[in-house]
Amino acid sequence: MMALFSGRQLDVGYAATPAWAQAATISKSPSETILALVGVDPGSVGVRQVGTMISFGSVRPGFRLEGMDDLIYGRVWLLPTSIALGLIAYDQDFEIKFWNATTGQITLNSITDSGLLDNCTIAASLPDTLEPNEEFVFTLNVAQEGDLEISGDKIFSYESTSQSLTLTGMRLIILNGEHNWADVFSVLYGFETLVTISKKLHEQRAQVLPEMRRMVTISLLERNPYLRNYLKRALNTVIAIPISSEPILLNMTGSLQGLSSLTAASEVEYYYNLRHLTDIMAIINGTSVEVRQVLSVSGKTISLDKGIVNNWNAEDVICYPLMTGFIEALKFDDYTAEVWKSNLQINEYCYGE
């Protein structure tokens, strides 16, 4: 018998060839995720997440096969045990389950950090006791703001042992410098098609890339050393830049905190990048940036995935649709010991789901 946990899915291979009979359906798990047998070919039995739990055992007296119960019960589960966060563009929440599948009471004493886990938080009031079969469901929040690299463990300590939740990922670097309008801000919109032409000028055309890809050229004239450092750090990774031709000023007053719907003063109904090519938007207040996912744009109303976290006044912020991309080349022209200029060419980074 072997068992493998990958994320929240349990896969089990059963190597014996038992003479077995299906028993009655039972319900032992307190969680919504219950397991069931599928595929009853002799020699192998697969298990996947469905909705009911079926137990099985030998009908031969005095002989007991190891059952599913033995796999699941008698231990404490932390689900999942690792999360690959990928590129973090905005605040994200993840559900973490801590399930006492033993027959005794246990006490979860603490959840501590090990490694680089800036602004990766789990709200919990500990220590707390779990009865047999009881489950805690926590929310892991990974904030968009924080150190660039995330690599570490959340250690769940209970009784005299512990289990770890491993987190790995990278925060998206957001370029919040203003474009220098002394130069042209250009966006290259491109498709890819294949065209073959015969001598008689008949053509066959095929679509290679059905979605537009962009390349942005932005000019920066800055005296800001932190921006220069961020650019160097971002040269070999992914960066998000504002589409400077589509600034969004708000037709609102007061605090934006908690609001998930914004009313624009700008002509956002004609902002093509915002409406069709981008799903994230930067809310910039000075040198601080908050990123939100854009769900829809209807007229001058922009709907966000969830409320704005920062307590910023609407009059103080400017918003831009963001494009994630990689820097094609990085060159600085230093006008003085402090003032520098850079023309950045950034190719859109397209990655799968």
């Binding site: 801000f185 966006v187 919109y189 001598k199 008689k200 000028l201 679509q207 400077s244 002509e267």
Partner: protein, 206 residues
């Protein structure tokens, strides 16, 4: 009256914005011939096609975000070089010499030897001073005398058109994008310029 787009078949995509004449409009003919020549010998020229498709390059300016949105939406529907659309050539090629009457299927124009270059797939457009477009397929062109040619149309005109009411008249080209990547250069947030290169599809006229 409204536009009268006749003779265009089922292809409805068209780009009708006037180019920005600050930059020259470029047109070139597409070569389709084979030259046979061995080292030190005479030459033999094989003409592959009597038709000459054109490639045109036009620069346009967006003055508002709405115009920019209009262009990007259009470009998106074309999917690079994949699809096709109608494009006026923006040349004053035909000059009416007589009033064209409603119900007639011909117009008289100044003789500029249009008959020499006539191909059966060609479409004509008349852009009126009212901003309305009239398009028709050309059936044939005959030379009347040294000063006048008669253009026979496949379908009749739906209005009477005097020479003075025509702002411009030229060929209505069926084209695809010749390039699949287009720069939009923003001089300000609202004002931007871009160029479209189009290639005529002489085998795909409906």
């Amino acid at each position: 009256m409204a536009n009268s787009f006749g003779g265009l078949g089922s292809i409805t995509d068209m780009w009708l914005r006037e180019p920005n004449w600050v930059k020259n409009l470029n047109e070139k003919g597409v070569v389709s011939r084979t030259l046979l020549q061995f080292f030190g010998t005479s030459q033999i020229l094989y003409t592959e096609n009597p038709e000459v498709p054109v490639e045109v390059k036009m620069m346009f300016m967006n003055r508002t975000k709405a115009q920019e949105y209009e262009f990007l939406s259009f470009f998106s529907t074309q999917q690079g070089r994949l699809k096709k659309y109608w494009l006026p050539e923006w040349k004053n090629r035909f000059k009416l010499t007589r009033t064209a009457n409603s119900g007639e299927s011909f117009i008289y124009v100044q003789n500029r030897k249009h008959a020499v270059a006539f191909q059966a797939y060609q479409r004509i457009y008349l852009l009126l001073h009212t901003g309305e477009w009239v398009t028709r397929q050309i059936a044939s062109i005959t030379e009347i005398d040294a000063t006048e040619e008669k253009i026979n149309l496949v379908t009749t005109l739906d209005r009477t058109i005097s020479a003075a009411s025509v702002s411009q008249s030229g060929l209505f080209l069926l084209v695809r994008m010749a390039v699949e990547k287009i720069y939009v250069e923003h001089e300000t947030i609202n004002v931007s310029i871009f160029s479209i290169e189009s290639r005529e599809l002489i085998r795909e006229y409906p």
